[in-house]
Symmetry: C2
Subunit: 657 residues, 2 copies
């Protein structure tokens, strides 16, 4: 998913560079002494991580105390019941050098309006690539300012170390909530007298859970820090990939935590696959290998996919076996307009490292299962299911992955990419097993632009992909050896309240009268997406009519200004709001969106042009070895610990490190 | 829950009397021959039900065919693989007499505006109180109009008949969704660095499921037909309690289905308890014993609680052992202003039948566990947790259950009522076991009026009640013998998207600038409901501050016109919209609600003054015997079949009938 484009790259960088959190100096550090990983952190035994310590000296603002930043702070570790030891000795590493910087932040919106930031001077240190092996409780204590203490309680979880699954397939429906699954079921599956005549594949999973997505320092999360929680077992800050956010300006020096992909690769030599319908440097795929506080460092993300982290000593990484998605602009040569890391042609770079490169569905179908594969099928995000299958003229854009400005007409869907990924991973991993992450990214992207129809199409494609993947795993006789998980990283506040008679709505001239087109309760009637129309798809559950007279009365709780006509956008994804002038600081309803609909004021700040994420717990569907670990309600980080335990990745001692 | 009050009683009666469904002649009957129970119905072996047959002869409109309604239709039953038998013979009952009526409906909103209803003449019959005993598939065939056939496929589920649980406690959070649970957790429980320091009781349940609430003839449901699905295993139409909706004018002649309370009482002699924070004749409690197409027949509902169904031969019923809730106006004498069934004093009526009557918390505490108990604690719905515990001056209203117009100051909460109910049911049921339904009704009622704070307070009270009930069952040493279920009957499209700086919002003069008070993503910050304030509640998780500076940016997807300030209403529940004139046909934002907030146009029809239900699957939490039946995703009716199977209520033959 993407943060509101109205924030823009420049602002995002400013935010992260200065850690200028409105309301919070540094969310994970309520006192003036900061320890990362902070209090309450959980660890997998043997998981690499960095430690960052900071001492803050506020110069002005409500916390100013006249002190200079402490240069003599100390940091020690103690396992419960054992003696406290200075960290350098505990980890047997050299004492790190002292670092210094400063940053500013706004205490509240009044301070922002008055342009009166608070300045903080900082002293800091970082211990790199350490690990805890023995399960149990630890205290990590920072002592600063002549005796002030910040104590972080850490827990190395006591997990079984016997590997129980050969493979893990993790499906992520980005932004997918239970509410959306319910709506997708309603348009994709037929009911008779309230009984569904077919089931979603997700509905057939034996174990259901809910995960709490609360971020480390805010209750709403984005895809970057939620992916970090799912892949590392460590919650983090919005925009963070595989790191805790410190307050320094450098987006690459933040304290890292090792990911499930990195650990699985390092400890088992198994194969890793990364598949997404987003541009492949986007947060959810990126978080498997990238470590940066700033998710918009797309070039560095591509570099990390292939070479891992090279600016610090870190875990050994030799690239995924499969990398499929969009985002060609981070691959093709700058000579063709590419925006690539170190100005390289990254197609060549991957080829040099033994990857077959694919640019379209036809080529993908011929991919050898024995070779590593890079598949990049379009500039930017991949085409949506609805545009690939129903409104196909929308594919006529200059988005060829080659960079030659022709159209990317022959794009695979999530299903084709995922099935090919399974083939390659199965073949290449042999007895070592594989880890595959497959993301339906545009559920989120289309919810952001209030394009409910396209979002639900993406969700149905995800479900169809899960169904086909399970069939494929069965064919390969590895279904019983594969933990299959389906979950999301956060929600959008979406639901369906009834139906809209679009014919009646269009026939009214006044907005207040148009609202009478809405039917609630009994007058919601039955879904017309299955009972009318003539679209058919082989062996799949998708609507037979995307524009019936009676559509869904659906929407989000929080919106920008927009116009709603509750009808499918046949000419491509919605653009609900447009800027009032070139400064792009204020948005109003797009006059070219939602034709004939009701004009509505949003509740979001007028600088927002799209919807935002929501708080709701998101569902987890589990099937296969260890499925019982994923029932009930738990934290997002428990997904990591469940997968790691099932793969037997915990290491109680240093042997083999 | 309550349908929009703007529809009102008169309209509701008109709707149900005429079965005038906009868009649908009769949703469960797409052809002109109607069978109830309709196609796809599932049955518990031995469950009583009525059969209604109708033949429709449309006089005008799109379906008019010039035919008179058939008087000679026939109806037969065939078990799969066996021969078809006329129903009267199959059930060994007399052939019912032919009935006739007519009704009108509107084909769409244009017809409604033009006042051009379609008229339908009807011939009909009803077979009363029959049952199917043998598990398996059946076809029920109506033959009419010289050979047209309507075939209903029925299934008598093949369930285990060994009783596995002594008791069932079914908690219903009316209108409660996963999104609301997430929000309640955020304000009621403290986090440190993204880790909750305490858990909701619901979060501790071992098994999680989702139930699909889709109604029989519309995809949005109300509390009446959803309670019917949960209690009978039969989906039905909005407003229906324990019946399928036929097209006749009489709201009491619709075909009935036996409820879990009725079957449990009839077959085991066990004790039944009904507890709700609503007026006790409201849909969710009512559906345990009432059988009417019109949920607003409150007087008849009270009669059914005590005497069961008496206008037709039906299952034997001698009243619940416990009946606790609000709604005194259906009990006290019409001389005091009561609106009672047959003008009786129903307190006296219950006392005559051996019930102790309680009017307040103090009296309830002294209730003998050996006696049947009626507890009615207020006129209308019970006071909300927030008003009973924080803003207590709001209790000063003329709502005494005695009818003497004093205030109902000493009201128990859901917890006190439920714990006392368990005491009585446990004592009175002996070895026979008990069935208790306990409803947190005002989660829904407060969501309807957009009073998110009160709704979340009710949800936290439900969770606190569940926690205390489990402790009580443990104390009584029957926890292991009790299936505890927590679920909902439908949703509201609610979520939380961030925080609102209410100080900043109040300081702005322009609505578009007020929107800047909203903080999303990282700027949502942390919940201030636990980190500030000084309210404390013994051994419970509720906010310590209900009006922090930074409140939740929360709301519904579909609203009436309203003004939002995202602040707790300290002077009692919200009233978001008010009528523009005495006709009450159009509502606008209430100028006295949401002081200083943002004025927002709704998306609901302007005749609506409150929010509406939503589509989303709702959660099911299960603990105890048979908990494994409630994992994964399934239909709302599966809750009934799961409870019935666990109680061993299926009867494969007629012995004992």
């Amino acid at each position: 998913m993407k943060l509101s484009s109205s924030i823009g790259l420049a602002t995002a960088l400013l935010l992260s560079a200065a850690s200028a959190q409105t309301y919070q100096r540094l969310g994970t550090c309520p006192t003036l002494g900061c320890v990362f990983p902070p209090d309450q952190a959980d660890f997998l035994a043997g998981q690499f991580f960095d430690i960052r310590l900071e001492v803050h000296a506020p110069v002005n603002g409500s916390e100013a105390n006249g002190l200079l930043p402490d240069e003599n702070f100390t940091f020690s570790i103690a396992k419960k019941g054992k003696k406290e030891t200075l960290a350098a000795k505990y980890f047997n590493v050299a004492e790190p050098k002292l670092e210094r910087w400063n940053f500013t932040w706004y205490e509240d919106l009044f301070a922002r309006d008055a342009k009166t930031p608070s300045l903080v001077n900082v002293t800091a240190k970082a211990y790199r690539r350490v690990a805890l092996f023995e399960a149990g409780e630890y205290t990590a204590t920072l002592t600063y300012n002549n005796g002030s203490k910040t104590v972080a309680n850490w827990l190395v979880r006591d997990l079984e170390t016997v590997r129980k699954t050969k493979n893990v397939v993790l499906f992520i429906g980005d932004g997918m909530t239970t509410n959306m699954i319910t709506a997708a079921r309603l348009i994709g599956h037929k009911t008779i007298n309230g009984k569904y005549q077919s089931k979603m594949q997700m509905d057939k999973f034996p174990v259901l859970g809910h995960q709490m997505t609360h971020s480390i320092d805010s209750f709403i999360t984005d895809s970057a820090n939620s992916a970090t929680a799912l892949y590392t077992g460590h919650k983090s800050t919005v925009n963070c990939l595989g790191v805790y956010a410190d307050s320094s300006k450098d987006p690459f020096d933040d304290p890292k935590v090792e990911t499930i992909a990195e650990m699985f690769h390092r400890l088992t030599g198994g194969a890793v696959g990364i598949v997404s319908t987003a541009f492949i440097a986007d947060a959810t795929p990126a978080a498997l290998t990238a470590h940066t506080r700033d998710r918009s460092q797309y070039g560095a993300v591509i570099d990390s996919f292939l070479y891992g982290i090279t600016n610090y000593t870190w875990t050994n990484w030799t690239g995924p076996d499969v990398l499929f998605g969009g985002g060609a602009e981070q691959f093709y040569s700058p000579a063709l307009g590419g925006k690539t890391y170190q100005n390289k042609d990254w197609y060549e770079e991957f080829q040099k490292n033994g990857y077959e490169v694919h640019w379209n569905k036809t080529s993908l179908a011929t991919a050898k299962s024995t070779d590593k594969a890079l598949g990049i099928f379009t500039v930017s995000n991949m085409a949506k299911w609805l545009d690939r299958n129903v409104y196909t003229t929308n594919l006529n854009q200059s988005l060829s992955p080659s960079g030659d400005k022709t159209a990317a007409l022959d794009q695979p869907g999530l299903k084709e990419m995922t099935l090919k990924a399974v083939d390659i991973l199965h073949k290449r991993s042999g007895n070592k097993g594989f880890f595959l992450m497959s993301e339906a990214a545009s559920i989120d992207k289309m919810m952001h632009v209030l394009d409910y129809d396209r979002a639900l199409g993406e969700l149905l494609e995800l479900d169809d992909t899960i169904k086909a993947t399970i069939a494929k795993l069965k064919d390969l006789d590895v279904l019983k050896d594969t933990l299959v998980l389906v979950t999301a990283d956060h929600g959008h506040g979406f639901d369906v309240m009834g139906s809209v008679d679009t014919t009646y709505l269009a026939a009214q001239n006044v907005d207040r009268k148009k609202r009478d087109a809405v039917g609630t309760y009994q007058n919601s009637g039955l879904s017309q997406y299955q009972n009318t129309g003539n679209l058919t798809y082989t062996d799949s559950n998708f609507p037979s009519n995307w524009s019936p007279r009676y559509t869904l009365f659906q929407g989000l709780m929080a919106d920008p200004d927009r116009r709603e006509n509750w009808s499918v956008r046949k000419d491509g994804p919605r653009l609900p709001a447009t800027p009032v002038d070139d400064t792009k600081k204020e948005y109003v309803a797009n006059p070219n969106d939602g034709a004939g609909g009701i004009k509505l004021d949003g509740t979001l700040p007028v600088g927002d042009d799209q919807g935002v994420h929501s708080l709701t717990d998101v569902p987890v569907f589990a099937m296969g070895p260890c499925q019982e670990l994923f029932g009930g309600v738990y934290s997002s980080i428990d997904i990591f610990f469940g997968m790691a335990e099932c793969l037997g990745l915990a290491r109680g001692n240093k042997s083999g490190y």
